[in-house]
Each structure stands twice: as C-alpha cells, then as structure tokens.
Symmetry: C2
Subunit: 137 residues, 2 copies
C-alpha cells in the first residue's frame, strides 16, 4: 500500500509523523488559497492552537510550507509546492496562482547596484488587482 503524501513529506525531512502534523498538512493541501494560522485552528478543532502555530513554524523551517503575505497583513501559509505566486483581488480577496516568474533580471540588476548584498536566496512577489466579477460592479 502506498505511503500518503503527507507521510512522505514528513519522513523525507526526518520529522516525526504525528496526528497534528498530518491534520495541518491536509488543511493546507485541501485548500487552494494560502491560510492563516487562525483559519487552520478553526477548521481543525481537534488540534490545539499552540500546536498549529508550532507546526506551521516547523513546516516553514523544514521547507514543507512557506509564508505568504497578501495585502491584509496577516501571515498566510501554503505548501511549498513550487515556484508560483499570486494574483489577489483587493476587493474580494480572491486568489489565483500564476507561474512564469522570471525575476532574475530584476534581482541581478538589484545585486549589481547593491552596496551590502552579494547573494539573493529567495523572493516574494504578489500582484494585486480587481478580479473580473469585482471590476464589473
């Protein structure tokens, strides 16, 4: 029988496979948009909130998940599947993923002009706009 995806993710990084971690992983996997810690706390009532926060931190450190900052200011988390970013509606908060981020030109230009940095390890890019249904009204 096949090993589940969440077991695999945890095992591959030498993390213990526990109920709370599986629950949090699935919460993230089940939804399309990035979630806040509180959203996960409320959806997964079985897991204590302190554990949810601890688990999310752990996931980020382990590279299983990553933080996403949309306009609101709340930190959100999503599975670190691959290189994609978000298009977010500033009115209704709808989120759509997009791929094809070629940020290298920008970042190498930034590096070339930098006085204090010589390495860039990651980036975040968020696009904001109005979704079609919001711009209709």
């Amino acid at each position: 029988m096949k090993e589940s995806i969440e077991h695999k993710a945890l095992r591959e990084r030498g993390l213990r496979i526990t109920q709370p971690r599986i629950v949090v992983y699935r919460a993230l996997a089940d939804v399309k948009a990035p979630l806040t810690a509180q959203e996960i706390v409320h959806s997964a009532r079985l897991v204590d909130q302190a554990t949810v926060y601890r688990t999310l931190e752990l996931f980020v450190e382990a590279g299983i998940a990553r933080k996403v900052n949309l306009q609101s200011g709340l930190v959100r988390y999503e599975l670190n599947s691959d290189d994609h970013h978000h298009l977010t509606c500033t009115r209704c908060e709808r989120v759509e993923d997009f791929r094809g981020c070629h940020v290298e030109k920008i970042s190498s230009h930034a590096l070339a002009h930098s006085r204090f940095f010589s390495t860039i390890t990651s980036h975040s890019l968020e696009l904001f706009g109005l979704c079609n249904s919001c711009s209709r009204t």
Copy 2:
C-alpha cells in the same frame, strides 16, 4: 517661509494637519527602513497607540504611506515615495532599497494566462538574501 513636507503631504490630500499625524509622518521619514506600528508607538510616546494605528491606516488610504511585508510577518509601513523595493537580510534584518523594478513583463504574462483577472493595479516584490557582513561569518 516654506511649508514643511509633512504639512504639504497632508494638505494636498485634504487631510487635517494634526500633531499626531505630523509625529507619525516624521517617524516614518526619519528612518530608512519600514517601521511597524508598534515601533512607531514606542518611539513616539506622545501619541496614543490607537491613534498611531488609525493614522497609519489613513496614510495608506490616502496614498501617503504603504504597507510592506518583510519575511517576519509583521506589517511595516513606509512613505510612499516612489517605486522602490527592498533587499532584506534574512539573518540580521538589514534592509537596502533598490530601484529598477520592471515587473511589467511578468505581470502581463500573468494576466495573459489568468482566468479571473484582467487588471493589475499594484504589486509587491521583496528580495531576500544574506548581507555581506552576515555571509562572512
């Protein structure tokens, strides 16, 4: 005698010129890096914290300031001077500005592939890395 920059910023948008607004504006103007609401609260002890929060929101709505999300998850604010972004050290939190963001190619590509959006109104871009002094150790 010349009108001060903060008076100008407020007057131009039809906002009342008040002590707290001037103090918050100066707090933002005096520092290079984006500040959190709490940092401003603690630096400008004269202004009540509720007022600081209200003022920052007001500044964002009026276009005087904007929110900046660095890695930590805390919302930061900076004056909306012009189009620049940040290079942030993930170890020591040092922040350096950079210019020359040509995100149009990325965003038009994203739009072309989007099912739900046809306008992009703004974006945020943050680069992360290690600053020279941190990468030395």
